[in-house]
Amino acid sequence: MKKKRLLLSLIFISIVMLLSGCDSKLAVLNPKGPVAKTQANTIIFSILMMAFVLIVVYILYIIMLTKYRASKTSDDYEPPHIEGNKWLELTWTAIPVIIVAILSVVTVQTTYAVEKVPAGYEDQKPLVIYASSSDWKWHFSYPEEGIETVNYVNIPTNRPVEFRLYSYGPITSFWVPQLGGQKYAMTDMITKLNLVAEHEGSYLGKNANFSGKGFAKMEFEVQAQSPGDYTKWVNDVKQTAPKLTEQEFNTLLKTDFVGRKSYSSTHLGFAPPPEGDMAGHQHGGDSKTEKDSGSENMDHMNHDMSGMDMSGSSSMEHGH
């Protein structure tokens, strides 16, 4: 048992050291933007709280196991009958309640914080990028710039980026660990993820949610550039890259692995994303037939979307 205790305390110490002490290289704890930073701080805070719980339990455990083993008691020792103790039991109910309450406050605050545009960036107009997945690649459409990329995405530093996520197949999860936590991309609705990169650099992004055979290869590069470099890159793509035709896009969707691509137009025009009137699960895939059938319960879901321009260019207006 002694060996085991030693082992446990070694494991425990090494975890605390690795996670909090030496500002490690672990991606999640090496944030490059405010969202990931909030999350890394939350994680470190929770580790410290939990370390306290573990220390208490492990100390009690070691005391009980060393003090009350049969080999240390006399043969005729009869353990007493003890029902319990109201105050002790209340104590170890109350203390966890307090710990959970503290963690809850932190969780609720940070959960709201990471859903919103990060603090300090609210005044800026976010850059909207539609990130859609298909088996097994990522398409990035820049409606304002009118360009589209595959399997890489360039963003300017110190500007909020609003990723609008959806999928052309299985549920995927858009994740750039060093910039912030992940969110699902699904076929029938848009999910939004706000990220900001504060440092220039190249960050690995990936699909985190299992989506079939090519899942392991579904990675992309996020290149965070200075605003100047970013504008230059956009202009480059506009001038040099070919237009994305509907036919080309359909070929892309059908091809398993395509490598990196750049285009000087987006697919949003001929293949609108599932938002507004196109949101699938609210009223079926074929919204026209639903409307014609005049189903009442569907109508109330549509009202706020009525009159919305369905052409791709309208999506620009969501930016502000």
Partner: protein, 648 residues
């Protein structure tokens, strides 16, 4: 359908499996014929309605499935040991992690737990069997046919490959065109019905069949945990039944509940799955808590500390278990408000769980602790499970979960709760109640070897995964490049997995060794234990208790030993009414197997015939007049004399 689509082909491993399945089946058939054991097998086991034998069959099935799921695990770990490994291809890896998850949860943990319930609960409450012995046999055979159907997918038709959570639209015909996911929906459905029936059976058994004087608050803690678990089963499993039925309609009949078009809603599947799936993890862990409570109390020679708060905390856990399912998909974009709600309910579970941990620690206090093999598992459980539990609290925090979700951190967490919780629990229970089942103890020296290999191997295998997860390694990924730097920690994890596997081999070898060499148990109470099951002789006679025990307190057997007061009613033996054996449950199981198999391949004519067969079986049972049989007082007296000597 062509034959080469029907049989899985092209993989040496599969041909190996084909050959070994044929050889093992032949060996069993030839062996049974040679030793003239067919009659014995049919009379004593296949048709039995005795809860103890059904329990043993559950446990044997669980051990077989542990082997299957364990081999899956080793294949996965071998593939991940080195970067860019070519050991398995993506499709094969996807099938293996899917079957590993399904097999370990539904066909290993569940039958192991239910097997323990079967063997122990009637004995702990002083009952002669469960409330519905025939139904109990039906439960087992439905589980067994579901498990066999699921395993058949490996060689016929192809294994499921969409993960054990089978998220749509990945699990729809469009993205999983093989019959693999049909196997998933049908095999889980058949065994799930069996589990639901078990739930009904044990609730009635515990509520209605306790010995005189055993009030609810005098029940052993394992029985309490089983009662609460079965209430959870009763509420959770119907959700799975419905979800799987809808899935089957989607895949076989072209409905659109979860598909991408025509109003299908993939998120609905995720919700239904986890409304069942989260309570499910408490279904497999609460009985283990019960086992640990009994084991810790027995081997520290003390009554359980804080009995009432133990019960209250389990009730609280069972209630909360239904309020936390959305924490499995915080990242679905339901918004900060919903996520905050589920974060708080999830963290709240830590409170009753913490109460239990402290109560176990204080049961040790002032005790007289002996480190037998069951106790070792219980003592490893406390620190390791606490570690797994606190990482669970970390995962519960939605904002941080966006970074843990779908990563190796999550994989590490749930193995850190399920293995020390469930697996150590059932293994501790198996060592503890082994003499009750078979009349001899497992060899302690081998058991301790197995224990240390398993504990050291387990920690080596899963501790690195926490760090890999924080470094961005996703789960279910079949390979990674050397540039990621994930290689060394993965190698460590793989080595740990193999050490752990060696531990399980030693554990199984111990069955054989102890069968050959262990001294036979003489008085039925080898551990000097506290609860009623130890007052019966080992092996336990079919009727369990010749006379009804009288219960005046918790741990009634302990106090009757200490205070030298009789445990049983006075008076002569009376004849005992027993349920008779029946071949109907096993036949029903076989028909259900074929019904499922035909539906998997959409062979509807044979499926309809099998379906009619099921209806006929139910009708036969309804019109059958079977009043059981009686064991005469004389026969009981002779049996008791033989088993107990002259003492009673």
């Amino acid at each position: 359908m062509k034959w080469d689509e029907f049989f899985v082909t092209g993989e040496p491993m599969i041909y190996g499996a084909d050959i070994s399945i044929v050889l093992v089946s032949l060996a069993i058939i030839i062996g049974l014929t040679y030793f003239k054991k067919w009659g014995y097998l049919w009379r004593e086991w296949l048709t039995t309605v005795d809860h103890k034998r059904i329990g043993v069959m559950y446990i044997i099935s669980a051990l077989l499935m542990l082997f299957r799921g364990g081999v899956d695990a080793l294949l996965m770990r071998t593939q991940l040991a080195t970067p860019d490994s070519k050991f398995l291809d993506a499709q094969h890896y996807n099938e293996i992690f899917t079957t590993h998850g399904v097999v370990m949860i539904l066909f290993m943990a569940m039958p192991f737990i239910i097997g323990m319930m079967n063997v122990v609960v009637p004995l702990q409450i002083g009952a002669r069997d469960v409330a519905f012995p025939r139904l109990n046999a039906v439960s087992f055979w439905l589980f067994f046919s579901g498990a066999m159907l699921f395993n058949l997918s490996f060689v016929i038709g192809g294994s499921p490959d969409a993960g054990w959570s089978a998220y749509f639209p990945l699990a729809s015909n469009e993205f999983s065109p093989t019959v693999g996911m049909n196997y998933y929906s049908l095999a889980l459905q058949i065994s799930g019905i069996g589990t639901l029936l078990t739930g009904v059976n044990f609730i009635v058994t515990i509520l209605k069949m306790r010995a005189p004087g055993m009030k609810l608050m005098r029940m052993p803690m394992f029985t309490w945990s089983v009662l609460i678990t079965n209430v959870i089963i009763l509420f959770a499993f119907p959700v799975l039944t419905v979800a799987l039925a809808l899935m089957m309609f989607d895949r076989l009949f072209g409905t659109q509940f979860f598909t991408m078009a025509n109003g299908g809603m993939d998120m609905l599947w995720a919700n239904l799955f986890w409304v069942w799936g989260h309570p499910e993890v408490y279904i497999v862990v609460l009985p283990a808590f019960g086992i640990f409570s009994d084991v810790i109390s027995t081997f520290s020679k003390r009554n359980l500390y804080g009995y009432k708060s133990m019960v209250v905390s389990m009730v609280a856990i069972s209630f909360l278990s239904f309020l936390v399912w959305a924490h499995h998909f915080y990242t679905m974009g339901t918004g900060a408000m919903v996520n905050s709600f589920f974060s708080i309910t999830t963290m709240a579970i830590a409170v009753p769980t913490g109460v239990k941990i402290f109560n176990w620690l204080f049961t040790l206090r002032k005790g007289k602790i002996s480190f037998t093999s069951p106790m070792l598992y219980a003592m490893a459980f406390i620190p390791i499970f606490t570690f797994g539990g606190v990482t669970g609290v970390m995962l519960a925090m939605a904002s941080a979960d966006y970074q843990y979700h779908n990563t190796m951190f999550l994989v590490a967490h749930f193995h850190y709760v399920l293995i020390p919780g469930t697996v150590f629990g059932v293994v501790a229970g198996m060592h503890y109640w082994f003499p009750k089942m078979f009349g001899f103890r497992l060899n302690e020296r081998l058991a301790k070897w197995a224990f240390w290999l398993i504990v050291v191997g387990f920690n080596t295998a899963f501790m690195p995964l926490f760090f890999l997860g924080l470094d961005g390694m996703t789960r279910r990924t079949y390979t990674y490049s050397a540039a990621t730097g994930y290689g060394p920690l993965n190698m460590v994890a793989t080595i740990g997995a193999f050490v752990c596997a060696i531990g399980f081999v030693v554990l199984c070898y111990n069955f054989y060794y102890s069968f050959r060499h262990s001294p036979r148990d003489e008085n039925g109470d080898p551990w000097d234990a506290r609860t009623l099951e130890w007052s019966t002789p080992s092996p336990v006679p079919a009727y369990n208790f010749a006379k009804m025990p009288i219960v005046n307190s918790q741990d009634a057997f302990w106090y009757s030993k200490k205070q030298k007061v009789p445990l049983y009613e006075d008076g002569p033996y009376e004849e005992i009414h027993m349920p008779s054996n029946s071949g109907q449950p096993v036949i029903l199981g076989i028909i259900m197997f074929f019904l499922g198999f035909f539906l998997v391949f959409s062979w509807f004519i044979p499926a309809i015939i099998a379906g009619i067969g099921v209806v006929i079986m139910l009708a036969v049972r309804s019109f059958e007049r079977d009043h059981g049989y009686h064991i005469s007082a004389k026969e009981i007296a002779a049996t008791e004399q033989k088993l107990r000597g002259d003492t009673v």
